[in-house]
Symmetry: C2
Subunit: 236 residues, 2 copies
């Protein structure tokens, strides 16, 4: 399974073994599709499942709600947000806007060294694609985006917004890249990003990144549709 999901690597803040455990547990369960869409998530049941008390469960639920994986349900706990196409679409649109803006900021101050680093990731992804090693393509594409994200660490809000959304979106992206065509389009987009960065124009960078993420949205869109079809078929 996807290591970026099953291995909840060290984040910066939020310091608690138990709370972290529950957080990872629920997140993984959601990504694995273990909850029915819209299913209610109660503090007590989760506390029993994970073997901790309700207090860390509450904290984890609150965190997940901020990240958008679950939604507050009126007055009675939370529920799994489900993969509605609308949600997915909004998420990618937001990413397009925010990461587009971010790339515009980056364009103003990126260094030659960073450009080289990005080119390195891109070259590796291309090589991996030539070998049909999708896993590797995914890895280097992620490195590429992560390197870009790091460049706006001096804008804490923007940075954390983008980080959160990228975390959330992994589920779609991995599946998307399983299609060779998606991998090709993605790498092509990264090429265009490099060119835009070398042009140094914020406006062009913004537009290129928007288009890139909207392409990814289209791929994810089809993937989700097919998943829904599959689920429909597998229902007795």
């Amino acid at each position: 399974m996807n290591p970026a999901i099953t291995n909840p690597e060290g984040e910066k803040k939020h310091r608690s073994p138990a709370g972290e455990k529950v957080y990872g547990h629920i997140k993984q369960a959601i990504f694995a599709g273990r909850y029915k869409p819209g299913e209610r998530l109660g503090e007590e049941s989760l506390a029993r499942e994970t073997g901790v008390s309700r207090t860390p469960v509450r904290s984890a639920l609150s965190r997940l709600a901020t990240e958008g994986l679950i939604k507050p349900l009126g007055k009675r706990g939370y529920c799994h947000a489900g993969d509605s196409l609308e949600e997915m679409e909004e998420l990618f649109e937001l990413r397009a806007v925010l990461e587009g803006f971010a790339l515009g900021l980056v364009a103003r101050k990126i260094s030659k060294e960073t450009l080289k680093e990005l080119n390195r990731y891109l070259a590796r992804a291309k090589k991996a694609l030539a070998r049909n090693d999708i896993e590797e393509v995914f890895k280097w594409n992620t490195e590429f985006h992560d390197a870009l994200t790091k460049l706006i660490a001096d804008r804490p809000r923007l940075h954390s917004l983008i980080s959160d959304m990228r975390k959330y979106v992994l589920r779609y992206r991995k599946d998307t890249l399983l299609y060779l065509k998606g991998a090709e389009r993605s790498i092509d987009g990264h090429c265009r990003i490099m060119h835009a960065l070398m042009l140094g124009s914020p406006d062009i960078c913004e537009k290129v990144m928007r288009d890139h993420i909207r392409e990814a949205k289209e791929d994810a869109y089809h993937t989700v549709l097919e998943q829904k079809e599959l689920m429909k078929g597998s229902q007795k």
Copy 2:
């Protein structure tokens, strides 16, 4: 004092008398400048202050952190984010991007009735400006923006992001409008927004809204600077 701040009106979710009480208490204290910038906010001291236990205090702190009013401090509690110019600038830049995008979305589907409603608010703000009634200008300008925000209620993430940031930004805006020039520029911006909406072009709407909020940023910038000067002067 600002009614939008001192009167924590009914929000949608988050159901708790005690938790709500603490939330309002801290928020008000922050807006009133009762905490030194960067001051550490401990759960225990806040619990004593407000007379409730630490549990609702935790929930309130978590909420405030999500909204960006306080920042998680490494591993040890939270602290008042302070009014650094950088933070303020980032906040307005984000608003510019997100509300710009939102207005682009709105442009595609706004109805004649809504346009009329917006025009009504705008006209009232103009009249208030003619009377030099800044309080009223503020009120109708807020109605104007709120009406726009409501139009993207079908994009929950975008909507809540914008709502949160607008809440947070109230402190700057009120002071800003105390300057007549700021009020004039603000109303002028709203006029341009109306024209862009009537043109119906998403791109133009996006650009106009961005410019409008960046103007507000400039006003807020000067205001914060003057406040800092004042504080420097009042320090023995």
